[in-house]
Structure formats: C-alpha cells, structure tokens
Symmetry: C2
Subunit: 470 residues, 2 copies
C-alpha cells in the first residue's frame, strides 16, 4: 500500500487535482481589486477562462455592490448559461442589473428547460417584458410550457426529442438522423441518449437507448430493440413523484405524455437531480425551522422570513411557562426543582427530534407507509422507553448525589421515563398524522413535538414533585 | 381551466395513473395471508408481476418473521437485482436467510457496481465465502475494485466501457460495435450513452455522446466530434466531490483514471444520484441527532445507537442546571424567574438552529466558503439582533402584563436580545470552526449550539435579574 501523499503528487502530475471542487478566495480578491480600480479589461481577462458555473459562483461570492459592478462590466457579452447556474436571489439581482433586453437575449440562447426555469422565477411584469423581447418561436414554446402547473412534470420536461415509428429499421433511422442534423429546420435535441418509438396517434410504445442502434444490424426494426418496460409520466405529475419514480426504477429518462396519452416531452435524469436537491433542501430547512434557503438574502429579509417560526415557538414556550406557573408554590418550597426541570424537557425534546427525523425521512422516501405505521409507532415508543429507563437511572443517581434527596431523584427518574416514552410515541405519531392530513410533516412536526415534550416534561416532573415530595 | 378530477379520470383512461408511486397495503396483506397459510404457490403468483424494486419494497414492509418465510419461498428462483434495491439492514437479514451459495449466484448475475455494493456491506467471513463461491472472472473484477477506498470514485465507477482511438472514423466505430456485440468475448456495457477517445497509453482525450455518432457522416474521425471539455476523476476522489462535480458541471458521465492517468472506468449520473441521496440523508440524520438511518433496525439496536447523542445532550443539560443553581437564592426570592427562564433558552435554541441549518447546508453545497465566511457571520448576527429586538418587545410586554413588574419585563427583554444575538453569532461560527477543523459540522454543531444558547440564556436572564431586581 502506498501512502496518500505520494498518490496525491501523482494526481497533480497527471493534471488531475482535487482543486476543481474548491472555491478560490484569490479569484474573488483579484476581481474585487480590478473592479475597485475600474479596470474592466483586467476583470474580463480574469473571468475569461472560467466555466459558466464558476462565473456564477464568483457572482454569488461577491458583495452586492461588486456584483452589480461586475455585471455592468460583462453585460455586453454576458454568457446566457450563467443565469441558469445562479441562486434565485442572486439571479434577481443580476437580471435587474442586466436589463430586459439582455436578459431576453440570454434566455433565447438557452435550452428550453433552463430558459423556463429563469423566466418562471421572474415577476409578472418582467416575465411579460422578457417574453415580448424574445424571438417568436422560442416565445411560443416557453409560453406553452408555462401553462403547466409549477413543480409539474410538464415544467420539468424537455420538448426536443426524437420519436419514430416502430417499423423503421436501424438503417433508416440512422440515415434520417444524419439528414435531420444537416437540415436547419429539423429540431434535433443537442446531445441525446434515447429515442422513442411511437404509434400512429403519437403515443409512446417504447424507448430505444442509442447504444442499441449501434450494436445491431441495419435491417433490424426499432420495434424489435425497443424497451417496452418504460415508465410513462403525465405532464401534471408532481415533480417529487417523478423523482421518486426515477430513483425507484433507476431510470435515466422517461417519456412525458399529455392528457390524451400523446408523447409531448422527455424528462432526463439530470433534470431530476435538481429536483432531488431541491426536495432535500426543503426537508432540511423545514426541519430546521427555516422556510426556504435564505443564504443569499439580506439580513432584514432573512430576519423577516424566520420571524413566523420563532413566533410560533414563542407561543409554545409560553405554554410551557403556564405549566410551570401552575407549580409556583412547589418550586418556592424546593428551588432544586427549578434547577433540574430543564433537564427533563431537554432530553424529551432531543429524543423526540431523533424519532421525528427518522419518521419524516422515511415518509419522504415512502418507506414509512400505512402498512408499517403501527409497527413504527410501537417500535419508537419502545425505543423511548428503553432510553427513558437508562437515563432515569443515570439522572436519578446524579440528582441523588447532588441534592442528597432520594425522593427528588425518584421524581426526576419517573419524569424522565414518562417524557422519553411520550417523546418516542409523539415523534412517530405527529408526522404520520400530519402526513395523513396532507400537511408536509417536515414543516410543522417539530413545533408540535416540542410543545408536547415541554408540556409533558414540566408537568410530569413538577406534578410528581408536588405529589411525592410533601 | 378544467378541474383536477376530470384530468385524473383521463389519466386512468390512458392507463397512466399516480398509483405507481404508492405502496400497496393490500399487497402486503395478501402475501402475509398466503405465507400464514403456507401457500407457496399463491405467494409466487402474487409476486410474479412485481418489479424488482417493488418486491424489495414488499420485503421491507413485512415483519421479520414473514420476511424470512417469504425468502424461503422464493429462494430457489431469487431475483438478483432485488438484493441491490434493499435497505442495508434488511439486506443482511435476507442474505442470512438466502445462504452463501444463493447469494453468490445472485451477485454474479448483477452489474459490477451493484454487486460491489452488496458485497462491500457483508461481514468479512461472508464476504470471503460469497467471493469464493463466485465464478473466477467476476470474482477478480470485484476483488480488484474492493481495493479502492470506501466512498471513493474507484468504488463507484463501472468497469465496462467503450474506449477507442481518436483516428477511428464513425463508420469504423459502428462496424466495430456491431461485431463486438455479436462476439461473446468482448465485454460491451449493457446500455451505454457515451464512448471515450483514448491516446496510445490509454489516457482519456475526450468523450463522444452516442448521438454524435448518429448525426454525422461515416468518414468523420472520432477526434473531430469528441467533447474535450470533460472532467476527469481519479479513483481516489471522494464520492461527495464526485457528486459536487456532477452537479456543478451538469455532467451525465465522467471518465475515471488511475494514478497513471489511464482510463479505468466511468461514473454515470445514475450512480451519483445514490450518492446524493446518501449525502442528504446523512446531513439530515446528523442534524437530528441520529447516527445513520435506523428505520429498519430493531428497537434495542436503535435505542443503543441513539444513546450516545442523548448522553452528550444530558451533559449539556446538566451544565445548564449548574448555571441555574448559581442563582438559587435569586429564584427563591422571585419564583416568576423559574416560570420565565425556559423562554429565553428555548428562543435562543430555535433561532440558533435556524442559522445552523442554513450554514450547514451552505457548507455542504460549498456556497459558504472562506471568501464569504466573515460576511455570513456578520449577517447572521445582525439577523439575530433584529429578531432579538422584536421578540424582546413582545415577550417584555407579555411578562409585564402577566407579572405586573416592569423590571422583570426589562430583564426578560435584555436577556432575549443577548441570547438571540449570541444564537445568530454562534449558529454561524460553530459550523465554520468545525468545518475548518475537518469535523463534519452536521454531526456535532447542534450540541455545541444548544450548550451555548442554554448557558447564555439562563446566565443572562438570571444574572440580569440578580443585578436589576434587588
């Protein structure tokens, strides 16, 4: 076995280093310096060798002043695909600086699915203005696709595809493709990986991976080499269901049909990757109490968007306070209760969050279903009980040593068992109930859970203390 | 606009319904009934039309007794690819029931990347036994690939690929592919989407999407139509960096080279989707305080795996208790403090978690870098301050109305501002510091954060009370 450093050296020698995935602070500095010096030529020279994605990265890493300045410098030869790579918030900024005409020109140069993405995010007025400034053919295509619901397969699909009748032979197909590529009028997709076989009324019959055209003889008809086990998606299918289907069936592409079952587009796995990323980000952010990713938003906007969740949390915190207030006289007599009471609530909250996270994830991946819901709730309650007993012993002993009261220790231990059992039970039940009520469990489960674990935690501990200590 | 129900009907009419993505409790019931009645024929009939992924789903939805029974029924004609679709925990179960010989036979029938996945998860003894029971050619291939580090590009890549010299023409290439497909000895990949152009020492020079072979004349050399802007990955590259590269550059496939720069495999985007899913799951689980997804584990195992995190949390909870204990005499005099003190800590914890979630996510997507770290910390502190002032006003007023003490209200308000400011500051700083120390911020940030917001929350509130109330 050779050591890592030696291997590392050799990667560099072959010109392949890990640096591709790092962002370069030096680059940001160089560009900022050049912008500050109003040296447009140096700015353009610096960014010329950058890939579109890296230029988008650079724009995102600049402060808003420098960003606007950079856009002004590169405005005249703005690279269309940079727009598609930008975060939504930053894109709005860039488009505002770029202006309607330049944006329209950029969008007209993009693939329809990317163009759609950019246009769909614009405000109504900007959207109209950009569409009006576009060439008619592009505009019609995009306006048509905008009629599909947001987050639907219709929005996600690419319109350009190759669809041929099943009786065509491989030879005829290759000849047709060569002719079509030469004629300007036929609209072949850029690079494509599958072609579709359709029946006379344009319904998809099967899919032919291109490698099959290259590994069979010219006289083979398409119907003989097509894969009929394809999954057909309708334009109105939700994009999350599309993503689920792609993962479940390991698809690389799937045909999209309209209400009449006619082939109108194709969704490829690279489009689905964006959906998967978005889905995951949503789950993570919602569980963390953040509406949507606000990394690029300004402070005031960010504070505003996070306010509602904190306000809801304040409500539940006051609810917990009301529970504590019920036992003011008990606390006055034994102030050690005030010292220990956050422990019970905190452990319940954490144990509940563990269960909640697993349940929300399992619901998202459709692993948690009505078929195993009851078993899951039972298991999670049991897990809560196990850990409740363990931590009851641990905290009981610590409290006994600390305050020298076996009764206080007993109260703490019993409250711990009760709250961790409830945490497991409600950590599994709450997301299941919300899911059944068609509410996204990632968004609202956490607040219900903390309410339960706080209220039960304080109530069990202080209530048992009132019963057992006097 | 037509109504959803009408559209829904038509989907059904075209045979395309949403039901594909639902799991069927009826199916589970039918199979359980048949298993209980020991009716092997009915079991086999029921599962015969199922897709591999659906059969895997069914196995995951059964209790462990029924699962084992089902495996025994279908053991003789077990479908290899079902193994690859199973969750790790369930797969171990199934393999244990299946036995070494059947597992080896199944694995030998799978694609190398899927086979590798199954074998890599086996215990050392099982791994050896399964490998020994496999045909020599498959075994060598897999043993070779097992020498690459876990989670590296070498493990992820597929060995089967088409690599040709750049001077070959399209015509020669197609003729070669047709001959190779007919001869049994050549090992063409199943369906493939790109072929690679190599130099005489087998280094990748470019990639040719198959569509380009079909849209150009037969005499065009490959070097003329190849895409040289491909990203080359080394076998030792971490799979998370591979995933980042694919997303950043919208790749559909990338060549993998060994230490000498020679082409040894190809990674395609469908392999990357699994990595992306795994990455996201890890982030989510770690933030939720769960080691790895334990949805299919037994209660005892699950409780054990969640214990460490809860134990750490118990430590921080006792730390908070120590802070409260410092102010026992203050609380004894004004018991309202015990009622209100969880509010400050809870709001701080929630505001901090919001910041933390955004920061951890931005670090994972490499949006948060050294270039904008300082700006991010500044922004998050400001966001904390904004919401701190808002919630200081709200909670101050409520406390005033509740307890009729303006001084108590002032104490609560000031503590709220302090804790939300600290929450924003530490919610951004902690993950950045951990990231710099090469510790996964998703795993450990939350516990540091709660410690800070609890300790500061209680200390600020009770300390200010001691200073200002008497």
């Amino acid at each position: 076995v050779r050591d890592a450093a030696a291997r590392e050296d050799e990667h560099d020698a072959t010109g392949v280093s890990e640096s591709v995935v790092d962002v370069q602070p030096q680059l940001v500095e160089t560009v900022v310096d050049a912008l500050d010096a109003d040296d447009g030529a140096r700015v353009r020279d610096t960014i010329a060798p950058l890939h579109d994605a890296d230029l988008a990265d650079l724009l995102q890493n600049l402060g808003s002043e420098h960003r606007r300045k950079l856009v002004r410098v590169i405005r005249s030869d703005f690279r269309p695909d940079v727009l598609a790579e930008l975060d939504e918030t930053i894109r709005e900024d860039v488009i505002a600086e770029l202006g309607i005409l330049e944006t329209a020109a950029a969008v007209a140069d993009m693939d329809t699915d990317d163009a759609l993405l950019v246009i769909a995010d614009l405000g109504e007025d900007d959207k109209k203005a950009v569409l009006q400034a576009m060439p008619l053919s592009d505009r019609t295509l995009i306006e048509q696709q905008l009629t599909y619901a947001e987050f639907s397969a219709g929005r996600l699909m690419q319109r350009e595809l190759v669809a041929l009748p099943g009786f065509w032979t491989i030879g005829e197909t290759i000849d047709y493709l060569r002719r079509a590529a030469e004629s300007e009028s036929a609209s072949l997709p850029g690079d494509f990986y599958d072609l579709f076989v359709i029946d006379p009324v344009h319904r998809p019959m099967g899919v032919v991976p291109l490698s099959r055209l290259l590994t069979r003889g010219r006289i083979t008809p398409l119907s003989e080499i097509m894969n009929t086990e394809m999954k057909v998606i309708t334009t109105s299918t939700d994009q999350e269901d599309v993503a689920f289907l792609f993962r479940q069936r390991n698809l690389t592409s799937a045909p999209v049909v309209d209400d009449g079952g006619r082939l109108v587009g194709v969704i490829t796995i690279d489009d689905v990757v964006d959906v998967i990323d978005q889905e995951h980000e949503d789950d993570l952010m919602h569980l963390g109490g953040v509406g949507t990713d606000d990394f690029y938003r300004r402070s005031i906007g960010t504070a505003g968007s996070r306010f509602p969740w904190l306000a809801v949390n304040l409500g539940t915190a006051f609810l917990a306070s009301l529970v504590i207030a019920m036992f003011e006289t008990t606390i006055e007599k034994v102030v050690a209760l005030a010292v220990l009471m956050p422990i019970v609530a905190s452990m319940g909250g954490n144990a509940g969050t563990q269960t909640l996270t697993v349940a929300v994830r399992a619901l998202a991946t459709k692993e948690l279903t009505t078929a195993n819901a009851l078993r899951t709730v039972g298991k999670e309650s049991l897990v809560g009980l196990f850990n409740g007993v363990l931590f009851a012993a641990i905290t009981g002993i610590i409290a006994w040593l600390w305050f020298g009261s076996s009764k206080l220790a007993l109260v703490l231990a019993l409250a711990m068992i009760a709250n961790l059992l409830v945490a497991g039970l409600s950590g599994a039940t709450i997301p299941l109930l919300l899911h059944r009520l068609k509410v996204d469990p990632a968004v609202s489960s956490a607040v219900f859970l903390t309410t339960v674990t706080d209220v039960i935690g304080f109530f069990a501990f202080l209530g048992l203390a009132t019963l057992l200590l006097f």
